[in-house]
């Protein structure tokens, strides 16, 4: 090579081509990212996807009895799965199963068995208690424990909960207890008395607060 670089006032052909290719690649990648952005559809909060809201009636979720209103006499220490049933815009009944994370677990225990950290004010007479039935670990529906009477076990990764003590984690990987849902009696119906007391799966605390605000704003 020569010691002196040739000073060319004009752009060399190679430089021009490199610049052109660089520009094309940049524009191409940016537009591809734009297209990929559509891979994630916008979430619309419809009434069937709302979490249980105050006034919702609890109905059976099992396939054979789906939609039938749960009577307190049907409840026992065996887990009963329930959906919250609210009203659509026309005032017709609407089961909120658009989001499968809305499924609930309802139990009834003899008085005095349900203890802290369960929020006793959110139960019915300290006897009937409702929780989110979605495991806080990977989002599976939690069942009765077939090995330990009176406990709950998630079949996916063996997460265990104690429904008499606020569904705290007693075994396995779940990070948080199942969220408790405040309920009250209205005649012979079980009715939701408010939002979940803690953030249910899959929400973080901040996301849950935002979701509650969004629901309130939409129903107002």
């Amino acid at each position: 090579m020569t010691r002196y670089r040739k000073q060319d006032p004009e752009m060399t052909r190679r430089r021009f081509i490199n610049a052109a290719m660089g520009t094309t690649a940049t524009v191409g990648i940016v537009s591809l990212v734009g297209v990929l952005g559509t891979a994630n559809p916008v979430f619309r909060l419809t009434r069937d996807k709302m979490p249980p809201v105050e006034g919702d009636v609890l109905v059976h979720a099992s396939a054979s009895k789906e939609g039938e209103i749960i009577k307190p006499s049907e409840l026992s220490e065996q887990l009963i799965r329930a959906w919250p049933m609210g009203k659509d815009k026309e005032g017709n009944n609407l089961i909120r199963k658009g989001d499968p994370n809305n499924v609930l677990a309802v139990f009834r225990y003899p008085k005095g068995q349900i203890v802290a950290p369960t929020n006793l004010e959110a139960t019915i007479d300290g006897e009937i208690v409702a929780y989110s039935d979605i495991c806080t670990h990977a989002g599976c529906s939690v069942s009765d424990d077939d090995q330990q009477e009176g406990q709950m076990k998630c079949p996916c990764h063996s997460g265990q909960y104690d429904p008499k003590r606020g569904c705290i984690v007693v075994g396995g990987p779940p990070p948080r207890p199942l969220a408790q849902l405040p309920i009250k009696m209205d005649g012979d119906k079980l009715v939701v008395a408010g939002f979940f007391l803690e953030n249910p799966y899959p929400f973080t605390e901040a996301e849950w607060e935002a979701r509650k605000e969004a629901v309130k704003a939409q129903l107002a």
């Binding site: 979720a61 799965r81 670990h137 990977a138 079949p155």
Partner: protein, 439 residues
């Protein structure tokens, strides 16, 4: 005609370059071929299945059990089409062949990699092909997982829910990533079309491209030569050419393999969609992933519960067990060729007993994966009264460290024994030969 073709297609060049490729004569070299044949069978059966499959999770009336007019029996279209495929002549058989072959493909790939690892075939110059092989293994597993989501029965529904949960557990970007990958909040309206796209277009495309690269590199670099080749012709390629000697062997192997798969499929049912039923809120007791993912499942079953918040991102047991741990395991496997510092190209398949440490690390690594898979059976072990709820985690955690360690030292011990015997043999034959010379 040969000449006519040759002038246009340069067949003779193809012949010299590819069709004369020498294949080593040893049965362990068939494992890669079995993987390849599995891929071919999977693509053929997959195309036929795709012709009758409806990739949609919209609810439609179940034509087999329509229910009543005011309460119709609605099931997802994908699940309905799986029921229809089962009702077709040989439809269930087709699904079983596809499923069995998928399992065999992963198994053959795993054993193939074990052969490569234990004989040192990953060494220079074949590192790149080890890495491509790792990618093939990962994408094969991903293809298999997306495949068993497609029937969209309750089992598939629970599977995809867990997969979504795992993707969403990545700190900071998790929920965005899961939504982008699975078409919105679980279960979005487009989840089945999305996974169908992955399973029949994206992932097979990646698999085919990687397989092509894998084989081109293999032809360019040649197989490692079995040990006998060293004795007959040092540093020469020994083996039978693809055309015509290896081809009939391959054909025979294909037919034998296809026959075995058909036999399996005829007698051993796989994934009965009718049994699991359409997606529902009722969980499946003792649900488990396929055997090649059981180790991740086992790790999740015994990992304790915790949650850390770092800069607004949540790091939980799910992320550590299902993302971080497999990443570490896979990274270790990727790193295998980098641990070898030899400057020379490796021509010959090595005798594993000449490399006791490598052998012992390999066996203890497999022992670890096996113990983790056993941990996946934790609920079953508890209900069979082998372990109790109280001690299961402790016992399994101890086994996870003890068994690989024992395996490591046992392997080294056995190899030493084998070597001692071999050396004794050599001394003896040497003594006899000198004794014979004295006469």
């Amino acid at each position: 005609m040969n000449q006519w073709l040759d002038e246009r297609l340069h067949i003779s060049r193809l012949n010299d370059k590819f069709l004369r490729k020498a294949f080593p004569v040893h049965h362990s070299f068939f494992l890669g071929e079995i993987t390849l044949f599995s891929l071919i069978i999977l693509i053929i059966t997959g195309i036929v299945l795709a012709l009758s499959y409806e990739p949609s999770n919209s609810l439609i009336v179940n034509s087999f059990d329509p229910g009543t007019a005011d309460k119709p029996n609605l099931i997802p279209a994908a699940y309905h089409s799986a029921l229809k495929i089962n009702a077709m002549p040989f439809g269930d058989m087709l699904r079983r062949v596809h499923h069995w072959t998928a399992n065999i493909m992963v198994a053959a790939a795993v054993i193939h990699m074990m052969r490569i690892y234990f004989t040192g075939a990953f060494k220079k110059p074949r590192e790149i092909n080890w890495w491509i092989g790792m990618l093939l293994l990962i994408f094969t597993a991903l293809t298999a997982v997306t495949g068993y989501i497609l029937p969209y029965d309750n089992y598939a529904y629970n599977t995809v829910k867990v997969v979504y949960g795992i993707a969403a557990s990545i700190p900071w970007i998790g929920s965005w990533l899961a939504q982008a990958a699975f078409a919105g909040n679980f279960p979005g309206e487009g989840i089945i079309p999305r996974i169908y796209g992955y399973h029949i277009m994206l992932l097979p495309g990646i698999l085919l491209a990687l397989t092509g690269a894998h084989m081109l590199l293999m032809i360019k670099q040649k197989h490692t030569q079995p040990q006998y080749a060293k004795r007959i012709a040092y540093k020469k390629i020994v083996g039978v050419p693809l055309l015509t000697q290896q081809t009939p062997i391959m054909l025979m192997l294909t037919l034998l393999f296809a026959g075995i798969v058909l036999l399996f499929s005829a007698f051993i049912p796989v994934h009965p969609v009718e049994f699991f039923g359409p997606p529902s809120t009722t969980p499946i007791q003792n649900i488990k992933p396929d055997w090649y993912l059981l180790w991740v499942f086992g790790a999740l079953a015994i990992i304790p519960s915790f949650e850390l918040t770092i800069f607004g991102g949540i790091i939980g047991s799910e992320f550590v067990g299902a993302i971080l741990l497999p990443t570490v395991v896979i990274a270790a496997m990727f790193a295998v060729p980098m641990l070898d510092r030899s400057k020379d190209n490796n021509y010959y398949a090595e005798n594993p007993t000449n490399h006791p440490v490598r052998l012992a690390i390999g066996t203890s690594f497999m022992a670890l994966l096996i113990i983790m898979s056993v941990a996946g059976y934790k609920p079953d072990l508890i209900s069979a009264n082998v372990l109790t709820t109280g001690n299961a985690n402790t016992v399994l955690w101890i086994l996870m460290f003890v068994v690989p360690a024992v395996t490591y030292f046992a392997t080294i011990g056995i190899v030493r024994g084998i070597r001692a015997l071999r050396e004794a043999d050599e001394r003896e034959s040497l003594a006899h030969s000198t004794a014979a010379a004295d006469d």
